[in-house]
Amino acid sequence: MRPLRTVTGSTINAVISGGLAAVLVLANPSIAGGGIPDSNRPADRIPVILVHGALNSPDGTWGTASDQRGFYSFLMGRGYEPGLTLFNVDYRDSPDGDYAALYPRLHRAVELARARSGHQKVDVVTHSMGALLARYYVASPLYDGGVRNLVMLAPPSNGSFAVTSLRAALITVAQEDRRMRTAPLTGPGTGGSTHAFPEFRGEHDYVARRAAEFYEPLYGQFVLDTRITGGSKGSAESFEEWLARSKPEVYRDCFVEASEPPLRPDWDMGDAPGPGKDLTRAYYERLGLEVGRNNYLKYGGARPTLAETLVKSTPPLSGDLVEMLKEYSKRVLFYFAGRLLEIGTTKGKVAVAGLLESRFKVNVDSPALRRMVSREVRVSSATAPVLANHFLARWTGLEQANREGVEANATGGCWPENPRYLVIAGGAVAANLPWGRGVEENDGAVEIRSTLVAPGSDDVFKVFRGLVWPNHLGLLKSPTVRRYVASQLETYFPVRSTHYPSFREKALKWFRWSDSGEVAVTPWEPAYIAVDSSRLKGEAGSLRIQVSSDNLPGEMGLKAWVYVVSGDGMLERREVSLSSPSKTGAAGGTISVDGLGSLYDRVLLGFRLTGAFTTDAEMRRMEGVASPVKYTLSFEPSGQPGTSGGSSGAPAGNDGEAGVPGAGDEALPTIHVIRTTKKTVPGEFLLGECAVWVWDFGDGAGFRDEGPGERSTASHVFSPGEYTVRAKALDGKGRVLREESWSVSVPPAVEEAPAPPSEVKFVAGGDSPDVRVEVTGPAMWVTGRPAKFEVKVDTGGVGASGKEVITVEPGREFRMIWERPGTFQVTAAAKVRLTYDRPGGRVSITRTYTGATTVKVAATGVTD
């Protein structure tokens, strides 16, 4: 299978060097230059990148910062900052809007949002065709896992019936123009011959030939059989239904078996779309049928008549793109309403077709328009749809395989970087508006069924229904929709139930526990059960999860999976192996999540019902389905207090390196902190200010310098001999702060002359040697669990000839256990002796140095 995720540095560099600013616009240019965050601090919000729809603009889709009804300002109100956590991708300048060529722009936007916000992941919110662009990016080699949520509002994931019809109308107009200007492609009707497909020399030629040579005469046969000579009930039958019933071989050859890969063999996912490369022969046959019928009606009795709502009158050329788009959209709706198509001249039609191309970049050969043709088209209401857009079908299937990890599972991995999909659609237009009739429930442009990407296990699919609104363009205006999208972005996993600690074990008691419950599971939205980190308490052990359902709906399966989440990032996804549903609909399975023990571990258990989403009837049936699923959670510790091996040690996001003690740590000194005044260093080590110097000259003499001061001077007259002079600095409680000593040697007297008194001066005190005591340990911790700390005494900056660390309190390694939450200072003290060789003697200094770190301690005993 084609490797999709090979990312080369050169590729990325090339894209990035293409310029970020050129493709990113801010709704408010005045703030374009601001908002660069402190590089050391991630932004509060995960950034959101907005991707507008086809024939639209960022402002037109999302509104501006000052438009209070717009989605853009709504997000600003929720704390998103333009240029920091809120971005737009603009692809209006693209000549054809083809997402296959435009997805690198989204990649650049993701890179910029990451750089500015400081987050590794971003959320992408799209409207209409913007979703195809985003999906293409996610499936592309450029994608490196940077998207957390991909929110798709009204996405034409399987094409748009509106685009299908519009394109059919345009190609019909073009074909008619061709027919009017050239000799009609008249010839003997095949009368039902089905095997003489003409050579494919382009879709216009193919459609024209099939219409003229095959479907037009066939339509006459249909009229004669069903309306004139045939049975009395014949008029209820359509051309397509008659074809499928009376000429099954034609239907089989032209539609069923023509749902083949496109005509040219070099088709590939990344290849540019074009005639014969992306749409199946069945699609062209469908166009030929439509044109053939129109030709019959046109030349066999009716005056020329085609998509008159589009082509009869020229849309007002106000120059305002938005207004013209509205006008155009309205006419498209009238077109689908099919109220009336009055006859216009070919000249007029061609002129309007040209207008569409020049003003809206819409033409029949537009790659974007081709790629949004429905994946399937319905030839007859009595028969199954046939494949039309082979490109879309293949791409969707390939992407789904990646999301489900099918390809990767073959090599033992999965794609944890795949984003979560949220598909949001509007519905009920079809039931209430005349132009919606004839297609399945839709929002005026996209059928609900077509919005759905083949669902992955953690996809969300929400349909908002109304009389006529929210429709395709109005979906974003719905306050309910906006709130829902924002809530999804802010919560990431909508959790149905959270298991906080409900037990009453005393803190520090190594525990095992179990819980059980039941949750209603649907095929539309995954249900998540969270086992919160405060429930797991960072204990080493494993969580055993049992899932069972006694009565799954028919033809539906159950899927369950587990995320082990640390901090705000997803670490690992594991599938729960479930038995296939029995005849009674019973299914179940078990998974054991081992290796828990990091403080911020939490576990998310996800469920959803699975089933086929192929027909509208199935969609409707599944929509109302909810099945109860039982689950049981049980935690089993893997060790005893202080012996919990296998842990990663430090809590996630912690600067500290020490953490849960490993085996053998029992011997370490442990300090239980019950009161906030608890000190970690014995009182004798916590010294005060220098209060007095005590001098000892070594010959029985001495004195006290009550200075007080950091320095003390003394002089003494020695008799000949060897002496050791000591000076001690004491604090007010008599504890030694500093001790210095000198060696004094006084030579004996010479006989010729009496020895003069030998007076020696001393200076004690002064600058302290640069000795550092560093305490390392966790910056955040919880009550009841031992935290390990280490003490390092650094004397490297001291130029002494002798360095001796006499003692360290409470120890070079020690444990702390807090029994109550709060912010605490953890202090360590080291007594160090330094020796200096100086002219005239050796000076030895003994002094106590301290170091400290601050720890925030949280309580675990929170209950709901």
Binding site: Y219, V223, T226, R227, I228, T229, A302, R303, A307, L340
Partner: protein, 233 residues
Amino acid sequence: MYASIGIIACIAGVGGCFAFSMFWGGSNRYSLLTVLETNTKGLIAIPLEGDCPRAARWEEQSRTLVPLKTEYAPDRRTKCLVVYDVDFAGVRVSSDARKIPSFPYRIDLGVPISVIAQADPPGDAPEADAVIGVPVPVCDNRLRLFTGELSLDRISSDGVATLSLDGEDITVAPGQAWTVARIREGSSTAEIRPGPGWEAALTKAFENGSPISRLTIINYGLWEKERVEKCGY
């Protein structure tokens, strides 16, 4: 004596109520008929959606009627429901449902057919052109060859429908159909009835490009008013 008068008055009252209810209250059943007019020529505009929606559809097995609009559903007074469709070259351009409370009831086959283009959405400026929001003919009514009156004269208690077309009496029993075709050749119009030569004559006229119209009446019999889905479709 007063008692006798009271009894007589009571009987008269009950009888009157019964007669009133029989006359005004109607039955819980109605007769379902369809009138299909098909034409080969004369279409000048096509409803783009294809056929215009049928006024009602029905499930013959369950004998359930699904009207397009709730006002098409037979009400308490409806004795017969006629679904009248007009078709040009395989394209249904008109469909109507007539609720008939009393007989005779006349259907004017010559009423020109036009389509009211979709009105603008409320609040929007009206269209400048003449297409949207105004009646527009969709067919050349001169090429519809049935232009007289179709009279529905009565429905018997067993559901047999008695009609008349241009003075000709027509009887259609439940489950049966009646049909006739007309061909215009030059300035004259010929009438073709089912029988030997029916298919050959019509096929020849069709291939010659002659305008053909056919009228078909189908009697679906008596249906229960309870079996009507009033939600529309």
